[in-house]
Symmetry: C2
Subunit: 195 residues, 2 copies
DNA sequence: TGCAGCATGTAATTTGTTACATGATTAA
DNA sequence: TTAATCATGTAACAAATTACATGCTGCA
């Protein structure tokens, strides 16, 4: 499912121009898929060329003509076919985790900043999704609701994991957690990596 | 942080050939970053050309010469610089969630299969990470432990979210859960997927 | 005065994926 | 005998990112 197919899907809900689609991509989609003008506009041109969408140009003053795209019957068929894929990908490419893998090569302050920034970004993601959900009317599709909840739950879980386990990254190497005795001073830091 | 930089990072821990690095990428890395031979070999050639790694060719019988790469001082400097980035990306590109957004256009059986497959994949990811962790010695870096825990926690959270909320996807649209009263006749049949 | 929003796009570049191409050894 | 493991790579292709290019309106 590439940007082109996703544009087709969004057009199956509502007519839109490239600019509108970009805004859609900035809404809930941005939490699991991204697309910029550089891929949206060529995608629309391509869809139109293939007859999967039609285009009406509406003249405007001071702005370029607004090109409103509508999905065609052929387009709906093509999109339905795209939805048949039973094993769609779910890929993560995290430079953040890649860097953390090398945490022992980083200065503690930098590491702290890295973790702080990520937690902040994750909390903002949760808030962003909350705001989006509040704007949604009662007619919002169950699919949209489900993915919003998913994004929120995962971002929350990620933030919590980081906050609960970040101290592990600042420990002196060598001994694994399960062999270490709790120090008598009562400072419990049983940093459990996982359940 | 591209494949090239990541190869450099792995070489900062241990000398390796392209084949070895691929195996590293199949280990814990695969849960947040992917790379195939098609990107690893060109990356190594490029790093060598730039003097960030050196290469010893060890003749073998029946196999191509094994090229063992070692990081150079310049390479270590370059990698440390790469680790200074305070806001590394953390991107998800999920065709799975993209499809689910359009759940109301899918046949229930297909939707079920989709969800089943994803949950299965997530549970397998958790098991895979467990196995990796068990193979790790006590000298394993805290960074590695942290990212393994992260991957596991997120996969677990995702699987749980799906299992707890999948029924939402099979409800008849229109009214949001918290406002809906149980209809007297028990029959709600407004299927009307927009066409 | 300057910036955000509206609205279009192209072109170069980067990056990664997939398929191709080779070939010996070893365990099931 | 078939598949997996070891071990190297290239070339064509796909896809998306980034920078570029334009220009009006309305608000602070």
């Amino acid at each position: 499912m590439d940007v082109k197919t996703l544009c087709l899907g969004l057009l199956s809900i509502q007519d839109a121009c490239g600019y509108d689609l970009k805004k859609e991509f900035e809404s809930i989609f941005k939490h699991f898929y991204s697309a910029g003008y550089g891929s949206i506009y060529p995608a629309l041109a391509d869809l139109a060329e293939k007859g999967l969408v039609s285009c009406r140009e509406i003249p405007q003053d001071g702005k370029p003509d607004r090109k409103t795209y509508s999905i065609t019957e052929a387009g709906r068929d093509a999109f339905e076919k795209a939805l048949q894929n039973a094993n769609p990908q779910h890929k993560m490419r995290s430079e953040f985790l890649a860097m953390l893998y090398f945490a022992d090569l980083m200065e503690p302050e930098r590491l702290q900043a890295l973790l702080d920034n990520r937690v902040k970004a994750l909390r903002e993601a949760v808030l962003h999704i909350d705001r989006i959900e509040k704007e949604w009317g009662p007619d919002t599709s169950v699919g949209a609701q489900f993915v919003a909840g998913f994004g929120s739950a995962i971002a929350e879980a990620a933030a919590e994991y980081i906050e609960s386990n970040r101290e592990l990254l600042f420990e002196k190497e060598v001994e694994p957690t399960h062999l270490r005795n709790v120090p008598e001073d009562g400072k419990s830091k049983t940093v459990e990596t996982r359940v």
